[in-house]
């Protein structure tokens, strides 16, 4: 019988292949006779290119072609600024291959294509590029000052964009405040570091004239659009496939990367498939990065701790180019007031060029930074007013009855107003407080202090605008011969488990087990309406589209079956792959039979088909076999376009112990309470939260791209760029809370990024609590190395 599968801890459909080593990542695609590419990249953060001599490389045995920008013809054009915004006064993007000047270490200068990767790399080393280095300024505050070296000589003060948004009247609020809290916080540059780096393979089919590109991308449809434009091809001659993708976390949303242009070009010109697989060292200097922001945030409050105004001015490092527009900064600026009512807001940011790898969204996309600013400021306000950290948040939460809560005047990254749809913030915070058992901890902390041990309790609250538009689509089809149900979307999956969650949604409507539903996505040859996987949007936007589609497909099944079984559609039900007359025992038909019957046939190629031919006795006698306005088969398409983002939220708490000698932090307890609306599959959701928290731990403690003052990245490998292993992530407790979203049929909200957002804030809050009795200065930046803890302890006013 069909039990509801939505909401169940269903095991994943995708796992069987992956655990057997049968995954198909880009580099696993067998392409007979493929050539391999390697890039020559700039070692300088900023330099003029004096000359490029490719002769030795071109003469190297096994080399087919060495490309520089001069070989690109009509493709020697600036790449698109994907998300334009009127505030981007000085938008700059790069060429596929550098054109006389390089703007960051790692920028692609030449592309070598050879018989195999080893040969391509040998030859790349033989390309002789002469540079004239130019001065650089890496510090984003100094970069905006007069006289600072410019990344782009025609961009004054290195400012790409500047934007102010206002809600209410911040000035008036500050004028009448009892208390003003002001802090400066900084979050540093990191990288998403998916375990699979970027990868592109391409083949031109000389017969059909079709270009097929396999890419480790989060947006095959977007990439296809770009390639069609660049190569001037009709869209139906370009097929982009994201096969298995080994993690994305944001940077794989950017397109086209140089490789996504060079690989198809080489494949076309050399009449052979071409492959380029990024190596890890290259990934550190090629794939886009994120996170550096400096916020100056002020809170205006009443003496009882109600925040009546917020001012935030921040600088956002956009790297050497701004291909993805202001998305990261805009998300940060509109998330800054978080879960708090704060009626008067003024937030202003500048996007600043630095001679570093370009910046585009990485899991969290501006939210961890905004969260760090507001949560650090709330803790500071609590401390200054002598109010408990939990209590000050309670006093400012938007209460459940005030939803939907609009922040008039603030426009979110989807171009729509900030309107928070639902939430029970206080209940969530209470769940955290109880799970932390604060009174017991205080006693333990006191006792520990007597023994010279340093314990701390930290907490942070977060919101996340998820499920951004514009839209996604779904397609559900029942195959006549096998009766199998296929589901398609235009999205990709990089580990989020779409093959399972979409199957659960469809299974409930079609009366089958979710393991029998086959989901295919990430292939423009299969379904090509939609956008991409980003911004914790898939479950909300595609999930609802698929839900609507499945309902429609079910109706189609019921209609056809009603005719077949001579019953009313309302008397029918679906279960175990069959449609049947309720209560009749065996009066029914399989989905395969229904699918066959729904398609008027001429040929009786099997038994079921025989009964569906136009000559069969059952065929209706009057009118055309396919009535006007009807379509053959059981196949439905529907779309969902959200009215605006839906706001998920949660609270994290940590209990830590700081080793007074090594300054190492041991996280003894970590609790996540989260609310992503209705849960499709708690097993997968917990995985998303845990993975997000691990990345948050990376950001809180370790991950820091170390650009020297000379602009050179000093830790471009996993040896020096530290990421959490199993030993660096604590066991965590995940507590679910479900407040449905009222703005989509399934009531779901996004979850993909949530875990990452409040971790640095939570850890900083715990460190402050631990060191408060010593009078140490509060934490104002992450990552928090032991050296930073040591410095804080050194600066303490009271000895340990």
């Amino acid at each position: 019988m069909s039990t509801r599968q939505f909401g169940e801890r269903v095991q994943r459909n995708e796992d069987d292949r992956l655990i057997r080593g049968q995954g198909r990542f880009v580099d696993d695609i067998p392409l007979e006779g493929a050539l391999h590419g390697a890039f020559v990249r700039s070692p300088h953060p900023h330099a003029r290119i004096v000359s490029i001599d490719t002769s030795a490389a071109a003469a190297y045995p096994g080399v087919h072609k060495v490309y520089t920008h001069e070989d690109l013809g009509p493709l020697d054009v600036l790449m698109p600024l994907l998300i334009p915004h009127p505030c981007i006064t000085h938008g700059r993007t790069q060429y596929p291959l550098a054109h006389g000047e390089v703007f960051y270490g790692g920028q692609a200068v030449a592309f070598v294509v050879a018989d195999d990767r080893y040969t391509a790399e040998d030859a790349a080393a033989l390309v002789d590029v002469r540079y004239e280095p130019l001065p650089v300024e890496i510090d984003i505050e100094r970069a905006t000052e007069g006289g600072a070296p410019l990344v782009h000589s025609d961009v004054p003060n290195n400012v790409a964009a500047q934007f102010v948004q206002r809600s209410g009247d911040a000035e008036a609020a500050f004028a009448k405040a009892d208390h003003i809290t002001s802090i400066r916080v900084q979050v540093d540059r990191s990288t998403a570091a998916p375990m699979e780096c970027l990868a592109t393979a391409a083949r031109w089919d000389e017969v059909s004239g079709e270009l097929t590109v396999w890419a480790a991308t989060q947006t095959p449809i977007g990439l296809r659009g770009a390639l069609s434009s660049l190569f001037e091809l009709d869209e139906n001659y370009v097929r982009v496939i994201a096969p298995d993708v080994g993690g994305g976390f944001g940077p794989k949303i950017l397109f086209p990367y140089s490789n996504e242009i060079m690989v198809p070009l080489a494949a076309r010109e050399l009449h052979r498939p071409v492959k380029w697989i990024e190596d890890r060292g290259e990934n550190f200097v090629n794939m886009s990065q994120e996170r550096t922001q400096i916020h100056y945030i002020d809170l205006a409050a009443t003496s009882d701790g109600r925040v009546i105004g917020l001012r935030d001015r921040f600088i956002h490092d956009t790297g050497a180019f701004i291909p993805y527009g202001i998305a990261v900064a805009q998300v940060a600026s509109t998330s800054i007031a978080s879960s708090y009512r704060i009626p008067n807001i003024e937030v202003e940011f500048s996007c600043v060029y630095t001679p570093t790898v370009p910046v585009t969204p990485y899991r969290g996309c501006g939210r961890p930074h905004a969260n760090f600013a507001i949560e650090r400021a709330m803790d500071q306000l609590a401390q200054e007013l002598g109010i408990d950290r939990f209590e000050i948040r309670r006093r400012n939460f938007i209460p459940p009855e005030e939803f939907p809560y609009a922040r008039e005047g603030l426009i979110f990254a989807d171009g729509l107003p900030v309107k928070m749809d639902s939430g029970e913030y206080d209940r969530c915070l209470t769940a955290l407080e109880e799970a932390l058992d604060v009174p017991a901890f205080r006693a333990e902390q006191e006792a520990a202090r007597a023994q010279g041990r340093i314990l701390g309790l930290g907490m942070a609250f977060y919101v996340e605008g998820t499920g951004l538009g514009p839209y996604e689509g779904g397609q559900v089809r029942v195959h006549p011969i096998t009766g199998k149900i296929f589901v398609n979307t235009g999205l990709t999956t990089q580990g989020q488990g779409h093959k399972t969650t979409w199957a659960q949604i469809v299974a409930d409507q079609m009366g089958v087990d979710s393991s029998e539903v086959i989901v295919v996505e990430g292939d423009t040859g299969v379904f090509d309406w939609g956008c991409a996987t980003f911004a914790s949007r898939s479950a909300v936007v595609a999930g609802n589209a698929i839900h609507k589609t499945a309902i429609k497909a079910r109706q189609m099944v019921l209609q056809v079956a009603a005719n077949m079984l001579e019953a009313g559609p309302d008397d029918l039900d679906l279960a175990d792959g069959r449609v049947f007359v309720r209560g009749s025992g065996d009066r029914g038909a399989t989905l395969a039979e229904v699918a066959t019957m729904s398609n008027p046939l001429r040929y009786a190629f099997n038994k079921a088909a025989a009964s569906a031919t136009q000559f069969a006795a059952a065929a209706s006698s009057d009118g055309p076999p396919l009535p006007d306005g009807k379509r053959p088969g059981i196949e439905a398409q529907e779309y969902f376009s959200p009215p605006h983002a839906t706001w998920a939220y949660g609270a994290h708490g940590a209990i830590i112990e700081i080793d007074p000698v090594t300054c190492n932090i041991d996280v003894r307890k970590y609790i996540c309470v989260h609310d992503c609306g209705k849960m499709i599959n708690p097993l997968i959701i917990e995985g998303q939260v845990a993975g997000g928290v691990a990345q948050g731990f990376g950001g809180a403690f370790y991950e820091h791209l170390d650009y020297g003052t000379d602009g050179v990245l000093k830790n471009a490998s996993f040896m020096e760029f530290l990421m959490p292993y199993a030993t660096e992530v604590p066991d965590m407790t995940i507590i679910h809370q479900e407040t449905p979203s009222p703005i989509n049929p399934l009531g779901v909200k996004g979850i993909g990024e949530a875990g990452t957002i409040p971790v640095p804030s939570t850890i900083a809050s715990a460190v402050d609590d631990a060191l408060a009795s010593m009078g140490a200065p509060p934490v104002r930046s992450v990552p928090l190395s032991p050296a930073a803890i040591f410095a804080a302890m050194q600066a303490s006013t009271v000895p340990a």
Binding site: Q11, G21, F25, G247, G687, A690, F718, D731
Partner: protein, 180 residues
């Protein structure tokens, strides 16, 4: 995760990059003979010559463990091993974990049941490491932090490790016949 070099034939002498070296090895129980360049990595040999693409490459510098295979019965990073070093050796990759009839190895079963994989890119390497631990006789008497130490040779960017720890415990139980 050291490699047992004593079981490998030393490779010496001057090779030109395109000189080919004859090797024979047993991969997942099948004898393999090939002539390969001396500088070819074992990971590339397995993936591109033998088309055993289940072994993944996440860093090519020995840190992430995605490329872990068993060489002479011990977990080894195939990105830090030249294929010629494996001459005469037994190699087992993720494709050789399940029985010939398709029955899953305990570690495969437990990774699936515990949702210990998301994108699946680190998974083959992780499972080969855990399979190595199982064969070494690791037990569930270990504390979580001890167990995590044993798992700290592999990076996963997706799962946050919690479920990998649980899957390892479950695999130990399955090995010990404690669970069906």
């Amino acid at each position: 995760m050291s490699t047992d070099t004593s079981s490998m034939r030393a490779v010496a002498g001057d090779y030109e990059v395109d000189d080919l070296v004859a090797v024979t090895m047993t991969v997942n129980g099948t004898a393999v003979e090939a002539k390969i360049p001396a500088r070819m990595l074992l990971s590339d040999f397995l993936r591109h010559e033998l088309r055993l693409t289940g072994t993944h490459v996440g860093c090519e510098h020995g840190v992430c463990g995605a490329c872990t295979v068993h060489l002479g019965g011990r977990p080894t990073r195939s990105c830090l091993t030249l294929a010629v070093q494996a001459d005469g050796c037994e190699i087992r990759t993720v494709e050789g974990l399940a029985d010939f009839d398709g029955t899953l190895h305990p570690v495969q079963q437990s990774f699936r049941e515990c949702h210990a994989l998301q994108c699946g890119f680190c998974t083959p390497g992780f499972m080969m490491s855990v399979a190595g631990l199982l064969e070494e006789g690791i037990g569930n008497d270990l504390s979580d932090s001890e167990l995590r130490e044993h798992l700290a040779g592999n990076l996963c960017r997706c799962t946050g490790y919690q479920n990998i720890v649980a899957a390892t415990r479950k695999a130990i139980d399955l090995r010990d016949g404690k669970e069906g």
